[in-house]
């Protein structure tokens, strides 16, 4: 498959390992020990860079507190930290520093992107937090609350039958209102480490997300 598409053969684990740092995230260059501006092992002093393991906690990548309430995130701080992180590991910066450096920068940078996307969206953030606490969303998860489902179904129907932009907007604002209430509640539940309940509520939020998606396609 890869060969047919003309892609390079993926590196083996041993090749990859040489560019993955095992130092964890310290604010010190593992090579020259000079202080780093971000937790990422990318040093502009000795121009050494290494990737970090994929399971590096996303909060750590942006130096966000993960103890306490991992769901509660200062989004403007996250954005700022993301820009800083991206600027130290951008593959363009490392392209001229050698093949290993460029590849490490690519791995690091895509992890940073993914971590940012995950943490900035409340639903994927919840998904991530639940996963790290052993309760990931699964395909056979079901919303059990039939009253809630009937309400979701009704919103879908209203949306389908909506004839004016105002009607669509009215439904959209109802979705937004319910979602924001739900997200506040999720934050409270995560703070109290009520994972099961947070997950159940997360499933409902995902159903609402389904209505939101439908309204965008309207």
């Amino acid at each position: 498959m890869l060969v047919r598409l003309g892609l390079a053969r993926p590196r083996t684990f041993f090749q990859l390992r040489s560019i993955v740092s095992t130092h964890g995230l310290t604010r010190k260059c593992p090579k020259c020990s000079s202080p780093l501006s971000t937790p990422l092992p990318a040093c502009a002093n000795c121009w050494s860079i290494s990737a970090v393991p994929n399971d590096t906690p996303y909060h750590d990548i942006f130096s966000l507190p993960s103890g306490g309430n991992a769901f509660k995130i200062d989004t403007s701080l996250l954005k700022q930290r993301f820009r800083e992180a991206q600027s130290v590991c951008h593959p363009d910066t490392w392209a001229s520093k050698g093949e290993n450096e460029e590849e490490a920068a690519q791995i690091l940078s895509s992890l940073v992107n993914h971590a940012y996307q995950t943490l900035s969206n409340p639903l994927s953030r919840l998904d991530y937090i639940l996963k790290t606490n052993g309760l990931p969303f699964a395909e056979d998860d079901r919303v059990e609350d039939t009253d809630f489902l009937a309400n979701v179904l009704m919103m879908h129907e209203d949306l389908q039958e909506a004839e004016s932009q105002q009607e669509v907007e009215r439904i959209e604002s109802e979705i937004e209102e319910q979602m924001s209430e739900g997200i506040d509640e999720v934050e409270r539940l995560i703070g109290e480490q009520k994972w099961e309940q947070a997950k159940e509520l997360g499933l409902k939020l995902r159903s609402l997300e389904g209505v939101r998606r439908a309204s965008r396609n309207k």
């Binding site: 998860d141 059990e144 609350d145 809630f148 129907e157 389904g210």
Partner: protein, 185 residues
């Protein structure tokens, strides 16, 4: 309103996950013609009056895809499904799975309908592995509709008695006796 709706069920433990049989992965195309046919011309779309005593309603939601599925059956006096309607909001495979299910269960007894496995739907529609959960949703929907119908009938067979007073008069003595039967609830 949302808060009360969510907090109510938050306290209910979710049911245990049901293990599913996976089917052989479908080849090549993501959407088979049969899926497309059921998606473009879904059969039996609509609703039945959910308060009718001979109607069972199954309402299921699988948030992985944001899918919501409603499947309703009308059952005749012989316990045979005489009419089926569905409404599904979700991806093409979810719509096709429920449309296929409605065609499949019409004319079956409840027992037969309850035995239909998601693997059959997946195989028939050539669903790719990533869409297997859509067929599981259709299986859940028919079972939930059957359950709803049965619990309605059970309620009807054993209604909560309202209170009444039994008054009798003896034809011989002319004596009148009134006995109170208080309601059970």
């Amino acid at each position: 309103m949302f808060r009360s709706a969510i907090s109510r069920t938050i306290l209910n433990a979710s049911r245990p996950a049901v293990s599913r049989v996976t089917v052989r992965p479908a080849l090549t195309r993501a959407y088979h013609e049969k899926v497309i046919s059921h998606y473009e011309r879904p059969r039996n779309v609509g609703s039945l009056p959910k308060n009718d005593i001979d109607v069972g309603t199954g309402l299921v939601g699988a948030p992985a895809c944001g899918d919501v599925m409603k499947l309703q059956i009308r059952v005749d006096e012989n316990g045979v499904i005489s009419d089926v309607k569905f409404k599904t909001f979700g991806c093409g495979s979810a719509i096709a799975s429920s449309s296929y299910m409605t065609e499949r269960v019409k004319g079956l007894t409840l027992e037969e309908a309850g035995k239909i496995k998601n693997t059959e739907i997946a195989k028939e529609l050539c669903l790719p592995p990533v869409k297997l959960h859509c067929s599981m949703l259709a299986e859940d929907a028919i079972r939930s509709a059957i359950r709803d119908y049965r619990s309605k009938r059970a309620d009807m067979a054993n209604p909560k008695q309202s209170g009444f007073i039994d008054v009798t008069q003896s034809a011989v003595t002319g004596e009148t006796v009134a006995t109170a039967h208080p309601g059970q609830n």
